[in-house]
């Protein structure tokens, strides 16, 4: 099948925003459908590398936490998110401990990683 989820979402988003919304009778519905188109476009931009981003992020979290390199429990987004949440909780504890110990290099390294993670996850619109 050549039609990817990404392409399908993008086409539906375009259709809602450009073709359906202008013909709706009330401003409220028109605006809602235009926004629905934008939501689908964001989802389309997000879906292709969603698993790759999470796998990479989880590896970086394990590394900064000093955990052994390991595979994620699965490649479904829900499984990757579950593991990501677990690792993030450990990182929050480690971050708080670094602050309490006034360990400036450790604190800086954690903030730098968090910034890197945030930028990697930025929505592409």
């Amino acid at each position: 099948m050549r039609l990817t989820v990404e392409a399908a979402l993008r086409r539906i988003g375009d259709l809602l925003r450009d073709d359906v919304a202008p013909d709706l009778q009330t401003p409220f519905l028109g605006q809602s459908v235009r926004m629905a188109g934008s939501v689908l476009t964001i989802c389309a931009n997000w879906v292709d590398d969603a698993a790759a981003i999470r796998v990479e992020e989880n590896a970086k979290l394990r590394s900064i936490l000093g955990l052994p390199a390991a595979s994620d429990p699965g490649l479904r987004i829900s499984q990757l998110d579950g593991e990501n949440h677990r690792l993030r909780l450990l990182l929050i504890d480690a971050h708080a401990a670094a602050e309490a110990a006034e360990d400036a290099p450790r604190n800086a390294a954690i903030w730098a990683l968090l910034e890197e993670i945030e930028l990697a996850r930025a929505q592409r619109e």
Partner: protein
């Protein structure tokens, strides 16, 4: 007549027993108001031999939204602020019984003017500086009011004399705890910073709007702010909380007037000297609070409680913006390299 118009007509007949010939028409949902559903309508009736025609706004609880609105809070605030120098609509009726329209609602006057789109190129149509000066002056007048004299002690913080920062931070951290599916260490780091570096106590407890920003007030064609709207997050606290929310980079009033000039307006109207270190604290708090609101939006959408597209877009897009804002502020404050 739509079904909703018919139900409002029946409710008005119940609510105003002396009214006859009640007609409700022109009902249209207004875009925005993502924590409550907002409708414009016209109501006509006869009462004691007089013809009454009112252009009205009906605000009905949404099944779920961006914020956790308390049912009668906004109505009570509008009533309390009448005649206090704060531009706001007159609120007429409150109905808590969901039997009438499915959910509680209240009705107030439709005010002249329109909201500026904070994301638009020219939101105030050439009146930017004047609108921004009024924005700060109104906020200053709000800070100068005595909430006890206005009967607003039942608002959150209304009986507290101090510790408003902790009250608010605890509240919004709790909302994040309840709504977050994947925890955000940036937000948690910001919360720890806020707890380690508390602000000074405010000069006086003030009525805090809670969502005082571009987009939540109306302005007229001649550049006058005609109404401050959306008071559902109103509480009592540090007046700098609203000032910080208004300059948040997502909807900054500082686009239209530099901060120093705005604070001068605010200080003149409030009689309070702004503590800049405390303002910085509330700026970071604002970014955390915004993250909490976007978290709530995402959770409402994920659970199916909300079908509102503005909630969807906010939940998806704005969280990232405010986590970046947190990082920028922590860098500004010297916490990050």
């Amino acid at each position: 007549m739509s079904d909703l118009e018919a139900r409002i007509t029946a409710w008005l007949a119940h609510r105003i027993p002396g009214a006859s010939g009640i007609v409700v028409d022109g009902l249209a949902r207004i875009y925005g108001g993502s924590s409550q559903e907002t409708y414009r309508l016209r109501g006509c009736w006869s009462e004691r031999g007089e013809a009454v025609e009112k252009r009205l706004i009906l605000r009905r609880d949404a099944p779920a939204g961006l914020v956790l609105a308390e049912r009668d809070l906004e109505y009570n605030v509008y009533r309390a602020l009448a005649g206090q120098g704060i531009p706001a609509p007159e609120a007429h009726f409150l109905e808590l019984d969901p039997a009438w329209l499915g959910r509680p609602f209240f009705i107030m006057d439709l005010m002249p003017g329109k909201p500026g789109n904070p994301f638009g190129a020219d939101p105030y149509e050439g009146h930017d500086e004047s609108v921004a000066r009024q924005f700060w002056a109104v906020l200053g007048r709000l800070a100068a009011l005595d909430h006890r004299k206005l009967g607003l002690t039942s608002l959150r913080g209304g009986e507290a004399g101090s510790g408003f920062w902790r009250l608010e931070l605890d509240r919004w951290e709790g909302i994040i705890d309840a709504g977050e599916a994947v925890i955000e260490p940036i937000v948690r780091g910001a919360i720890r910073w806020l707890r380690r570096n508390p602000p000074a106590e405010p000069a006086k407890p003030a009525i805090v709007h809670g969502d005082y920003r571009s987009g939540n007030f109306l302005f007229t064609a001649d550049g006058r702010i005609s109404a401050i709207l959306d008071w559902e997050m109103c509480h009592i606290g540090d007046p700098l909380e609203d000032a910080a929310w208004g300059i948040d980079p997502f909807w900054p009033i500082t686009r239209h007037l530099p901060l120093e000039a705005g604070l001068a307006e605010w200080q003149a109207a409030s009689g309070i000297q702004a503590d800049r270190r405390s303002l910085d604290w509330w700026r970071l708090f604002s970014a955390v609070k915004a993250c909490a609101i976007w978290t709530t939006a995402e959770a409402a959408l994920a659970s199916g409680e909300s079908h509102e597209m503005v909630v969807a877009l906010s939940g998806i897009r704005a969280g990232h913006f405010h986590r970046k804002t947190i990082l920028a502020l922590l860098r500004e404050f010297g916490e990050m390299a």
